[in-house]
Each structure stands twice: as C-alpha cells, then as structure tokens.
C-alpha cells in the first residue's frame, strides 16, 4: 500500500467538516457517515499492510527530521479503524435543530480527524496540535447539550484542559531547548545522550500531566464526573471511550521511544494506582449511574496506565488489551445509562421494562469485572501476569491494588445489576413507566450498544485467535529501535544535517 494514503485519514474528515455546511440539504446527512466509512476502509487496509512492516509518510515530501512524519504501525492502524467505527456508531443522527445538528456533525468529523492524527503523528509538536484539536472539539461537543449545568462543567473542563496544554507546551519547549528537534524518531535516537536526565524527566512529567487531562490521569481528572454527568450520552461515550485512549496511546509511545526510564515508569505506576483506587472507591460511593460510570472509567484508565508502565512487550500487550476492551465496553455502558439516566434507586425493576437493555448492561458489567470467558478477563489476566513477572515490589503492590479494586468494582456493578433485576420501588415506577419514552427515544442507543455487545462476544469467542496478532502488535510497538531505523534510514545524513 502506498504510504501517501495515510494523509487521507486526516485530510478527508477535515475536508468533509469544512464542506458540510455547503453541501445541499438532501445529501448533507450522508457526507459524514460516508467519509467515516472510507476512513474505516483505509484503516483496515493500513492494518493489513502494516502488520508485516510499519509504513512511514514524510508529509510534504521533506526528509524526516525537517518535516513532519506520519508513522503507521499495526497499533496505529487498528486505532484509526477504531476511531472511524466508534465515531460512526456514536454519530449524531438527529434530535437537534438542523443548524445545530450541522455543527455537531462538523465537530464530530473534526474530532475523528484529530484522533486519527494523534495515532499516526510522529512529531512532538504535531501531536500537540492534534491534541488541542481533539480538545477544542471535545469542549464544543460537551457543551452541545446546551444546558446551563453542561456549560459550567464545560467551562471548568476548558480551563483545566488549557492548563494541561500549557504544561505540555512547556514540556515540549524543554525538550526542544535541549535537543533541537521535534521528530519522535530523532528524539528517540538522541534521548540517551540528551534527555535521560532531570530535565528530560521534568519535560516528560509536564507532557504526562498535559496529556493526562484527556486520559483521565489522577490529579487532572476532576472534570470527568461533571462533564460526563451533564453531556449527552453519545459525547460522554466518545470522550471516555475514544479520546482518552488516544491520549493514553501517545503517552505510551513517548514512554517506549523517548523515555524508557525506570523513574518515568514508576511515576506512571503510582499515578495509575492512585487513579484506580480513587476512581473505583468514588464509583462505589456514587449515587447516580452516569457519575458511577465516569468514576469507574477513571479507575480503568488507571489500570491501563499501570499496564503501560510494565516494561517490554508484555506491558504494551496488557495495556492494549485493557484499552481496547474499555474502548468497546464503556461507550456501550454510557449509551445504556442514557436509557435509564439518573439515580441508581430509579433503576429498580428496569429489567422488566427493558429486558434486552438490562441483559446487555449485565453482560458489559461482567466483562468489566473480568469474569472468565469474557474479554475483560483476558485483559486483567494479561495485566496481572505482567505485573507478577516484575521483580520490583512496586509492581507487586500494583497487582494487589488491581485485585482489591476488582472486588470493589464487582460490588458496585453487581449492586446495580441487582437493583435492575430486583423489585420495583413504589412511587418511582409510575413516573417511569408513564413516560413511555424508555421505548422510543433510545432505540438507536440500544442498537449501538448491541453492536458493541456483538463485538465483545465475538472477541470472547475468538480470544485464542486474537492472542497472536495482539502479541505481534505489542512487539512492533515496543520496539523503539525499529521505529528509529524505519523513520531515519541512515543516521549519517542526519548528523550531516546537524552540522
């Protein structure tokens, strides 16, 4: 496959977003889904091509350390595919005034382009630009429910996000100050001499904090419960499911390529553990379902941070498994939660009113906890075996934290399932059943989560078959030397350029 097609995964959704308001009304609703289907096809083709060897595109035809490089290994290609499919499943089909629907569709397309750009970019500042693009579109979508509460929550999100971006920009400044380049491969090549010192670590922590805002890292995740409680379910699903994973992916790439240092790993490990503990216990105490899901999402992203802190392919494999599992489960849970909304007490008897929804919820909950035949089990198994293989005591402690929080997770999720299958509370059910909207409004939500459930079950059935590609992807991603060799074929020309 010609690597120049990589640029299309960014350019096409942007083009569609720019042109959307100008397309005739009849065709306008078709543009976005069609473009996303094309991007999905491109992602599929890229995935097949990159399994054997990663693809590199020098954007604009300028040789790597000067221009910007797009790098697609199998992990990046898989995430491009995931971006297109998840965006398509969570596509805003309707339910708004025409003008606002146009805006939401434009923003969703730009978000897809930004996410695709984040996965493929091989340049530090370009990552920052795409990260900001994803951030601004998320702000717009989060405020899109147009309630006053959503606007306050989004304002706080904007401020925290901008503070994070500022820290990340200062981190990038530090790196450029020391090394004089922005290309990730070039940085990976130079890092042992220039960046493996306190300055490099400080830069890494700043960038980690900055990207951590979107990845719901401990300390900078206070926005998540507020925004997820006020935004539309579709948007919460996009932010928790997709955008957080891409920020995580960028952090993992930086860790593998530029900062493979024990201090950086330990920081990630500690922040991940704190995220897991605080997230899962807050989810246990939460009284309404959306916030419960928000906090549990923080907990699971903590687990993913812990996984990526394990050195070598084992850690990358565990991190990918957790991230992909969460990518499927959490959007579906948010879609289902929209169906019921509100406090946990009102879920009583939900199973009788919508048996399918309740059954799906139970299925996702079981997988999230990690009950054996479901994919969630394999993800947690990979994580725990990876942690157990490390000699350091900190990793054992992390394993303990994972086990304890799994128990907490099981308690609060079973509690919800129990309420749903339990008896209806008096007085509450009247209001619920009379609205009748539980059957009409979220039909698309049910269909969306049904697709996610089908993906989950397929993954459960094909689990033995998935191990091999996952292993290959992890090996490919964790091989920093291969990345450098692929992007910068001869370091001789490089040092020539340096002088």
């Amino acid at each position: 496959m010609n690597p120049s097609f990589i640029a299309l995964v960014v350019a096409l959704p942007l083009l569609a977003a720019f042109l959307l308001p100008l397309v005739p009304k009849v065709l306008r609703r078709l543009v976005g889904p069609l473009v996303l289907l094309v991007v999905a096809a491109l992602g599929m083709a890229l995935w097949q091509a990159s399994l054997s060897e990663p693809l590199v595109l020098a954007v604009g035809g300028f040789r790597p350390p000067l221009g910007i490089v797009f790098y697609v290994d199998s992990v990046a290609a898989l995430f491009v595919l995931a971006v297109a499919l998840v965006t398509l499943l969570l596509w805003p089909w309707g339910g708004d005034a025409s003008e606002n629907l146009d805006r939401k569709q434009s923003l969703t397309l730009v978000l897809a382009a930004a996410c695709a750009g984040l996965t493929v970019s091989g340049d530090l500042f370009n990552v920052y630009v795409f990260y900001e693009l994803a951030a601004v579109t998320s702000y717009g979508l989060a405020a899109g429910s147009r309630t006053a509460a959503a606007q306050v929550a989004t304002f706080r999100y904007v401020i925290l996000g901008s503070l994070g971006s500022l820290l990340a920009l200062i981190g990038i400044t530090l790196i450029y100050f020391r090394s004089g380049t922005l290309n990730l491969a070039h940085l990976a090549d130079l890092a042992p001499q220039t960046l493996h010192d306190p300055l490099g670590l400080a830069a890494f922590f700043l960038i980690l904090l900055g990207l951590g805002v979107k990845a719901e890292l401990f300390l900078v995740n206070t926005w998540a419960p507020e925004v997820y409680a006020t935004a539309e379910a579709r948007v919460s699903a996009l932010l928790a499911g997709l955008v957080s994973k891409l920020a995580l992916l960028v952090v993992a790439r930086l860790l593998v390529l530029v900062f493979p240092l024990p201090e950086a790993r330990e920081a990630l490990l500690v922040l991940g553990m704190l995220g897991m503990i605080s997230g899962e216990f807050a989810a246990y105490r939460a009284r309404d379902i959306k916030r419960m899901l928000a906090w549990s999402s923080i907990g699971q992203l903590g687990a993913a941070f812990i996984a990526f802190a394990i050195p070598g392919p084992a850690g990358v494999a565990a991190g990918l498994a957790i991230a992909l599992h969460h990518l499927v489960v959490k959007p579906a849970l948010f879609l289902l939660a929209e169906r019921w909304g509100g406090s946990l007490a009102r879920l009583a008897g939900a199973a009788r009113r919508s048996p399918l929804g309740a059954a799906l919820f139970a299925l996702f909950a079981l997988s999230l906890i990690g009950v054996p035949p479901l994919p969630g089990f394999w993800a947690k198994y990979l994580l725990l075996s990876g942690l157990a293989a490390q000699p350091d005591n900190l990793y054992l402690l992390a394993g303990l934290v994972v086990l304890v929080t799994t128990v907490v997770e099981a308690v609060y999720l079973f509690r919800v399932v129990g309420v749903m299958y339990g008896r209806e509370a008096k007085g509450e059910d009247a209001g619920l059943t009379n609205t009748g909207s539980a059957n009409t409004q979220p039909a698309s939500a049910l269909a969306g989560s049904g697709v996610f459930a089908a993906l989950l079950l397929a993954a459960a059935l094909a689990a033995p078959l998935l191990a091999a590609p996952l292993g290959r992807m992890a090996t490919q991603m964790s091989d920093g030397a291969a990345y450098v060799a692929r992007v910068l074929p001869s370091t001789a020309t490089l040092s020539g350029a340096a002088q």
Binding site: A150, Q151, L169, T173, Y176, G341, G342, G431
Partner: protein, 159 residues
C-alpha cells in the same frame, strides 16, 4: 544581546507563567480566569521564542542583496509560536462564550457559587425528573425545564 538581557527576559517569561497559573488557580471570577490563562500563554510563547533565539543572528528572512549564509535565529520555534497564539485565541473565545451562557443562566460569575448550582442541577436532573433524561433533549429543546425558571428569575433580577 547581552547575557543579562536574556536572563531578564527568561525571568519575565517565567514570571508571566507563574502569575498566570497562580491567577488561574486562585481567581473565582470566570472572566478573570480567562484573563489569567491568556497571561500564562503569553509567557509560554515568550519562553518558546527565547529558546530559539541565537546571539548575533538576524531574523529568518532572506533580504534581497544579503548573502544567503547569514546567521539566522531558529525559525522552527517561531512557527510553533504562531500556531500556539492562534490556538490560544480560539480557546479563549470558546471559554468566553461559555462564561456568557453560564452567567445568563446562573446570574453570577463566581466559580464557587456556579459550581454548587451546577451540582444541584445535576442531582435534580438525576433524582427528581422522569427518566427521559434532561441532558439530551430529544426534541431539540434548547434548555431543559430545570434551568428555565432560574433563567427567567435571574433576568428579572438583573434588569
């Protein structure tokens, strides 16, 4: 330019960042939070250009008649700052528009007051309302009934 001048500019840039971040964390007024953010961004931009500065060099523009080999300052940080400035103004406009909306709805610019109002709204929507969910108005209703009375009330009080 002397060592002293560069150090002065460095301290200036870092102080701007510190003043901005401090103001961001301490201010309760939404409008002032936006101001503090743009101060910190100005500091970060200055820092980035400072990093690309090279002593006894000219601006990275080739003038006619000049030799092509003149020493020039690093153009890449300048390009980065151009990008960062434009990003900053976009985010600022978005934050201001949200502040305007929030002010119209809640009648205050105080972050603490606004936050507690928001919490009340969230739990109201979660507990007392029917299950249709106020957060995704299916029929294109711009604002849910929960905050509409409050809006009217505030407008009255204001005018």
């Amino acid at each position: 330019m002397s060592e002293f001048a560069l150090l002065t500019l460095l301290i200036g840039a870092l102080s701007l960042i510190a003043i901005g971040i401090g103001g961001l964390v301490l201010s309760r007024n939404l409008f002032r939070i936006v101001l503090a953010l743009s101060l910190a961004e100005a500091g970060a931009n200055l820092l980035l250009v400072l990093v690309g500065f090279r002593r006894d060099a000219i601006a990275p523009i080739i003038e006619q008649g000049h030799a092509l080999t003149a020493t020039m300052v690093d153009p890449i940080p300048q390009a980065m700052v151009l990008t960062a400035i434009v990003i900053g103004v976009g985010v600022q406009a978005l934050a201001l528009s949200l502040a305007i909306r929030a002010y119209v709805a809640y009648g205050t610019l105080d972050m603490n007051v606004m936050r507690s109002r928001m919490e009340t709204d969230i739990s109201d929507a979660a507990g007392a309302q029917p299950a249709t969910s106020q957060h995704a108005p299916a029929g294109g209703r711009p604002l849910p009934p929960i905050s509409a009375p409050r809006l009217a009330h505030n407008k009255g009080a204001q005018g």
